[in-house]
């Protein structure tokens, strides 16, 4: 029973490869050749290599090569006759994907002995996942012949990306380094200061926190056109949207964080007859750090979205939001996706930097200590 459980992907691959033989060729109108044979053989080899509860290193190596070789050849086939994929193409694609899954699960089962191996696994496994999303996307778009203007294949996006670096750089400069960063810093810091003020004066706290809680649930993005009206076309209005979007999460989270220190710790400071600012600096702000970082993380994605969407309502002719909306109108869908890739990349880096800072600063928190 457990044997079957561990090997179900491999078994399924064998079944799929066999059944793919029924509906050859891979592309209608394209004769099956040596490449089809290699695909099937490598898949079978991969499946056989995967037939074990614990995978040895050579088996793992075969498993690492097989699905990717097969997928690569499949893509090559699809490229020769776009939109002509037959059932057997899809079946073999599914088989390759199952093998890749098996590879990922055997990699995740490895208990790393050294830090280096652990780090490598931490990077390889999610990368594998990402690579397969792109592979499947490419195969589906090309195999099924989806119109370019609806969804371009990743390869076209990558090509466009490489060819448009100066434009992309200018857009990043406008949207990220002006609107997002400035708005983010302003919004987060004013939100933080407001939380301190609210904490200092009970009356303001009682009034402001419920209102802040309310407002942070509102669809603030709706003010984007109004901000453009008020602050003009350039990045100032985008930064203003970002400020408003990031202000309230920071206010609310910092407020919650300042209430999060233990009663006993607060009593401890009282026994020292510690003053407000001393208690704040030595106890309450450090205790609030996990909450503050939570807001910084939430805000990092909000800021990006806010700035890009605000560019839909008027902008100089540069910027990521501008490019996205303009290039859709020009049917340059590959450029749109290149811009999205940039946004995802920038957003992930932004998030990653904050996450690293969090690890460094809240090193003491159980969630960080635990791994």
């Amino acid at each position: 029973m457990t044997r079957v459980y561990h090997n179900w992907q491999a078994l399924a691959v064998l079944v799929l490869v066999a059944s793919s033989a029924l509906s050859l060729p891979l592309m209608s109108g394209l004769p099956s050749g040596g490449s089809t044979a290699i695909i099937m053989i490598s898949l079978i080899a991969g499946a056989l290599a995967a037939m074990a509860t614990q995978l040895s290193l050579p088996r793992l190596a075969v498993l690492a090569v097989a699905p990717h070789l097969a997928a690569w050849l499949l893509l090559a086939q699809a490229g020769q006759a776009p939109g002509q994929a037959t059932a057997s193409f899809w079946v073999l694609l599914a088989a390759s994907w199952l093998l890749a899954w098996r590879l990922a699960s055997s990699l995740s089962a490895i208990k790393a002995r050294t830090r280096g191996v652990d780090l490598a696994l931490r990077l390889i496994i999610p990368t594998l996942f990402g690579v397969w999303i792109l592979l499947l996307w490419e195969a589906i778009v090309i195999g099924a012949g989806i119109p370019f203007v609806l969804l371009p294949p990743p390869s076209a996006v990558a090509a466009r990306f490489a060819n448009s670096l100066p434009v992309l750089a200018a857009d990043v400069n406008q949207t990220i380094f002006k609107s997002v960063l400035i708005g983010y810093v302003l919004g987060c810091s004013t939100g933080f200061l407001a939380a301190i003020v609210a904490d200092r004066f009970v009356f303001i706290r009682r009034g402001l926190l419920p209102v802040g809680n309310m407002v942070s649930a509102l669809p603030i993005i709706g003010i984007a056109p109004i901000m453009v009206m008020w602050f003009g076309f350039d990045w100032h209005s985008k930064a203003a949207v970002v400020v408003v979007m990031t202000f309230f999460p920071m206010l609310v989270n910092t407020g919650a964080g300042l209430a999060a220190d233990g009663h006993m710790e607060r009593d401890l400071m009282r026994t020292y007859a510690s003053g407000y600012w001393q208690t704040l600096a030595k106890l309450r702000l450090p205790a609030a750090m996990p909450f503050i970082f939570n807001a910084l993380k939430i805000n990092s994605t909000l800021a990006l979205i806010g700035a890009i969407v605000a560019e839909f309502f008027g902008t100089p002719v540069v910027g990521m939001g501008f490019r996205i909306s303009t290039e859709v109108g020009r049917m340059n869908v590959d450029m749109v996706w290149a811009e999205i890739a940039v946004a995802a990349l920038a957003g992930s880096v932004f998030y990653g930097v904050i996450a690293l800072a969090e690890r460094a600063i809240t090193f003491w928190h159980p969630s960080v200590r635990g791994g």
Partner: protein
């Protein structure tokens, strides 16, 4: 280390006990208002603690031991009677930094190393840099934590954390020590060890110590005065003045005198006890 402390203790003469009241409670009462109705945590407590006393509080769970200590520390406000600390209100005493408090849990700040934790009250109270360093060194040595200065609390065992929190309360040399079950998390041997160290310290510095415990032998071993409390409402049912000498080796615990006091405490305890808790 014990040797070293003995040496110290013989150099410094223990202060002779003149009856200066440090804590005076008269008709003290404290009622918590909860949504289930009022909880009478303390009721008509009359108690005088003199300078140099070592007072243990013992009683079943929920009888108000912690509440009484917290009231002394100005962490709770009495709802009846009067309470003075060093002839001041508890609030003035707190603001004069009259006492050190050891909580039941260690309550160390996880983002500070052990030495920074001990430094915390010193920073707040504005001690000089060199003084701080010297005091950290001295108190950590006292609780046997030398070598662990740079560790974070979670890197220490529960017992070591507890000792660090005691060091923190000792660091600024308050004359009154309030200790709420400080040795609850420790095993018998470590407890014995810390008990004797605490006695040494007390004998040497003539501090006044209020000490909450669940252990009868511990109470008897340590105290000059044992306060037995009983719950609902929390009140003092017995105050036992210890007849044991100030010098107490560990094996004093097998003497008939010791056992007699222990038996009296046990009876007092049992009387006030309800098995439901």
């Amino acid at each position: 280390m014990i040797d070293q402390m003995n040496a110290l203790a013989s150099q410094i003469k223990p202060a002779t006990a003149v009856s200066v009241p440090v804590v005076e409670a008269k008709g003290l009462g404290l009622t918590f208002e909860t949504n289930d109705g009022p909880v009478h945590a303390l009721s008509n407590v009359n108690l005088t603690i003199n300078k140099g006393d070592f007072v243990s509080f013992i009683g079943p769970s929920g009888c108000g031991k912690t509440t009484f200590l917290r009231t002394i520390a100005d962490l709770e406000q009495p709802t009846a009677g009067t309470l003075s600390v060093n002839s001041m209100t508890p609030r003035q005493a707190r603001e004069a930094r009259a006492y050190g408090y050891v909580f039941q849990a260690a309550a160390l700040l996880p983002w500070r190393t052990i030495e920074r934790n001990v430094a915390l009250p010193l920073e707040v109270m504005g001690f000089s840099r060199t003084d701080v360093a010297e005091r950290i060194h001295r108190t950590l040595e006292l609780v046997n934590l030398t070598g662990f200065e740079k560790k974070y609390p979670w890197q220490l065992s529960g017992g070591m954390q507890q000792r660090a929190s005691i060091a923190r309360a000792l660091a600024f040399d308050a004359d009154l020590l309030l200790m709420d079950e400080p040795f609850g998390a420790l095993d018998e041997i470590v407890r014995d060890h810390l008990n004797s160290q605490l006695l040494e310290l007390w004998a040497r510095t003539s501090k006044t110590i209020c000490f909450v415990t669940h252990s009868i032998p511990e109470a008897v071993y340590l105290s000059t005065k044992i306060v037995v409390m009983s719950p609902r409402p929390g009140r003092v049912t017995d105050v036992i003045e210890s007849t044991l000498p100030k010098e107490r080796p560990l094996d004093i615990r097998e003497t008939p005198e010791f056992l007699a006091i222990a038996a009296r405490v046990r009876d007092g305890l049992r009387a006030g006890h309800s098995y439901e808790d």
